[in-house]
Symmetry: D2
């Protein structure tokens, strides 16, 4: 199947133009239409990519049998009806984060796609940056050993959003990346969320998420709209090596430390003896070269690849659902003063995804 | 009172030699004796400071009416009996962290000193570094405005301790500094602690503490023994300015950002309207020059000053007790899977301390 | 004079599209034409800015009396004939660096513009970045005191140019900035240039320029195509303060150090006594906030302002000539093994420019 | 020969105590005496190392046949008579930098030691730091390929010295390190020196050295007493890799970049064709782990090793002489306004040293 796939972009607001531009530039895709209720907005996007059919009518797009896929970049609360309609019309779907308003609605979307054998892909753009792709590769190859902890900080002076708190605004990036790079995905059973709203804006502007992972490991996220210094850093500690991703250091985004703590496990050792058997490795640091490349171009390629190979996308609807489930539980935890909340809706099949 | 005060150092292990050296070098003090059950160890410390009376007998030290004060650098579990005996003998006391094994024992020590009108000082050495002294001064002068959040990270490849977890090992630094610089001290009502022991050492090697502060502010501490990169950073966000303390950047340890988020408070504003009234200030950054100076020399001077002026030390026994109470509650929270635990024993009188 | 000025962009290669885009976006200008011998190239630029008249015929542009100014972005060797023709046709001219192939030709251009009362402006784009504008302002206000030294480093893995060496390729940036920010401009009498071509490419790939300035100060430039680490740093030392510009640190591009060396000057002091009277100030560091803004937009505004106010541009033809004269002398110095060479053609009138 | 060697430290001023302490702590040495005309000063050093014979009489030391070696830490102008006397008395000698006041005197000392088969070692302490030892090892193994350039910057707010300029004060560090790590040592034929004294102290406070090396490579040194920011950085560019040593970044002192510029050499290629054949490699960065270790302890060990193995020290008198010759030529170049000056006295035998 060497011909191009046809895609329509639905939603011509903030993100739609980026999708349109990347589908237009892709060898895998033919950008067939841009759909927005505000037809003027659709036209402006069309002009910016050299002209393409525009329509305010989603029904028209879904009825067009030549169209293989739709990319949905509308407000989050509209994802559920639009995506379900598209799937019912037999279209493969790429959808912006968050997948839906709630995990229950998201689960419906995932189930519908699975039933129909269609691709439902979450546009977790950040996962397709060269740095994150390299992290996934290193973790997958066992280069870090078993994962001990993941700690992510994403803070800056941010626009306080009218509708969502800082967790829903920023943490999806960290959560989708963790889901993408960890060998078992974001397989936490529970999450504790702590937040603060010291300016009285009515929503948390500072947030912390803690998730125990399997085998005693732990994941932690710190997001903050009120910090004048920008920090975007993720540390992934493993039994063999530790990786630090500093996204604001373009000269050395990734550093892999060949040092760590070793523990000589002896079956009958007491805790004390175990502590005594800890030793330290001080080794070299290594910073892999990263290729250049726009993440959204890789998103477009992956979407086409998944459709052609009839396989789940690397950031599947399930992945989007796992992120959504954590956010939903985090909101509940915040409401209960930080008590750990069980992550109710999850999809354990992620590990089956290649 | 211009003559020197007489002090005995009790405990000649890891920290005792530093105390002895600084008391010896101080114009406020006469180093009168070094006391350790292991008399050879005491002698080595004596030699290193040019010779001083040594004894294995604490009773002898306490019975000596010429001695005004003792500095206790023995293991934590011995602090309670030694300090109480010293106070009962009418000595002023400087004691290493943690104040005691438990908040209850610590409270007894604090009460005893208060009753007798003696100085009980916690050796929170870090508080007397030029950087922390400057932070306290800036906060006190209202330079940062009202405090919105304090976030402290202290991670490095650390020696796994045989007897304590990472919270008890590292967090006392962060907690004592927060207590020292915040206008109302460490006035949290509750703490949630999350930890992980992914190597199975029998104790947490990674720890997170979250404490809601008054007025909607929040304090957070991240300590970690398993990180190959060293980070020692504290961010203090205020309504007027935000301060970043990067202790590993000797060329610019403190940075004060004259930027932040403003909120035009209107009495009847709804939450939504409030969010809409948030605006951003982008101003200069300022890095104050810091004087040189060994923190422990300032500890010795402060101890003498408190005795002479008959006032609480700036890091009083009460401060040590507040830190201890948080650690104790944190241990309980860890045991309950991260549930927030009320900080039971606290001393609200800190704000009265000048 | 509130109506827009008409400008034609001559040369549609690498830089022309940027000029066209900025003139198009400017409230001061009407982009009237794009002229290139390669009419297809001109058309592509026209398309990218929404359509404008294109022509391969420079004569047509110069004959159009509605056109107030031309911006010349053709190869350096063509600057002289094109600019002279434009000036003779009564047009104001913005010209890319370097002004011309040689200082003698450049001087002719400057003289021609002066004679005719037309604006000849050098497109020293870097001078109009927020950082450099701020540096100029600080120096002008005497914030740094008298200038003691300027040291500029601009190194990275660079494309080895077919026609010019590293000095002609990179140093114009440093030299034009020095000319822009120093109170007396680039007023060096001589330059010594050292270079190396360790790969045998036939031209220097590493270069150093040293220029003694008035009053014992010194300027130094290090440019290097062979360095895998990128450094873009300028240090300007003054008697009152020192400024460091690190262009690769977006979080703190400018740092002003309120520290330095003081010398108590005594009229009859011997050199020894002078040395003894040196003392040190250790003060705060200050990092001014910088506004956002595209430099080329400011270039367009300055060009219009100079034409309207009938004044020299802040980066005048004379400034371009001073840079050219240094480069020419540097080439001679390189040829003579680094011997200092007198900078022959200079224009001392810079200090009269407001 | 397993017994300890006997050494006397001559000169108990600034550096003598460090020498005494390290010889005392060494398993190779017995610290036999400290000699200083100011016997009180000698006594204080003796006390600080636990007591050793002191004398004001150099003759007594040299007459003592039990003494194998002397370490000379007296003012530079006294090195020549003391070292010659020591060599004539059959002692091996470690001498502080600079070797002597002039290259001619230094050459006499080197010749005398060679004649007598004694070790004359230059105390180029910096060469024995873990970072520099690792750099030497990497260069020696061909890890960087052929050396293309060496650029060293050593600037900070420095004490203006009463007797020497900034070149003699700071550049010996850079020059001795270059001599130590470069495969052919500091084999420059000529040096051009530029300096400035903008405060009128009577000596250069800012200095630049440029030295063409063999095969078209170049070495450059920037030293500066007037900079409020401290920079200590050396970049060594090679055909295979480039190394950056940032001595103020303890977390990553050495970075090796596996990137660079490649040139496909073709025997008959013209310069233009050569330029066209340049290509770029973008590879990983690697930061070797460095062991801890006090450099002066390694100096003591190397001095003993050279004596026992009857071989030149790795920082031999010849190395000291090469550094001295560059400084002397630099002073002449400064006096002639920066004209390149032939380095007259050199010792080409360095390459024979293992």
């Amino acid at each position: 199947m060497s011909s191009r796939l046809n895609v329509a972009v639905v939603g011509a607001g903030y993100w739609g133009p980026n999708l349109a531009r990347n589908f237009r530039a892709s060898v895998d895709w033919n950008l067939a239409a841009i759909c927005d209720l505000d037809i003027e907005r659709a036209r402006r996007v069309s002009d910016s990519v050299g002209g393409v059919h525009v329509t305010p009518d989603l029904g028209e797009v879904l009825a067009d049998t030549a169209i293989d896929a739709v990319a949905v970049a509308t407000p989050a609360r509209t994802h559920h009806p639009i995506v379900l309609a598209a799937l019912e019309a037999g279209k493969n779907v790429l959808v912006e984060k968050p997948l839906a308003d709630s995990a229950a609605l998201g689960a419906e979307m995932v189930a519908s796609a699975r039933e129909r054998g269609l691709v439902l892909m979450a546009d977790h753009t950040y996962c397709y940056t060269p740095a994150v792709l390299k992290i996934r590769e290193l973790v997958e190859q066992g280069f870090l050993g078993d994962i001990l902890f993941v700690d992510s900080v994403r803070i800056n002076l941010g626009l306080i959003q009218p509708d969502v708190d800082v967790l829903w605004d920023l943490a999806p990036h960290d959560l989708s990346i963790m889901d993408f790079v960890l060998p078992a995905g974001l397989d936490a059973d529970a999450v504790a969320a702590h937040g603060a709203d010291p300016l009285g804006t009515g929503k948390a502007c500072i947030g912390y998420l803690t998730m125990p992972l399997r085998n005693g490991a732990i994941a932690h996220v710190h997001v903050n709209w009120l910090s004048p210094t920008k920090i975007r850093q993720m540390v992934i500690g493993g039994t063999r090596r530790t990786l630090v991703w500093d996204d604001l250091n373009p000269q050395q985004r990734l550093s892999v430390y060949d040092r760590g703590v070793d523990l000589q496990l002896q079956s009958k050792a007491t805790a004390d003896a175990r502590a005594a058997n800890v030793s330290y490795r001080l080794g070299d640091t290594w910073a892999p070269a990263l290729p250049e490349g726009e993440a959204l171009a890789s998103v477009a390629a992956e979407f086409a690849g998944a459709i052609r190979d009839k396989r789940p996308a690397r950031t599947s609807g399930e992945a989007g659902l796992r992120v959504l489930a954590v956010l939903e539980a985090a909101t509940a935890s915040l409401a209960e003063g930080g008590a750990p909340i069980r992550i109710a809706v999850r999809d354990r099949e992620r590990t089956l995804v290649p």
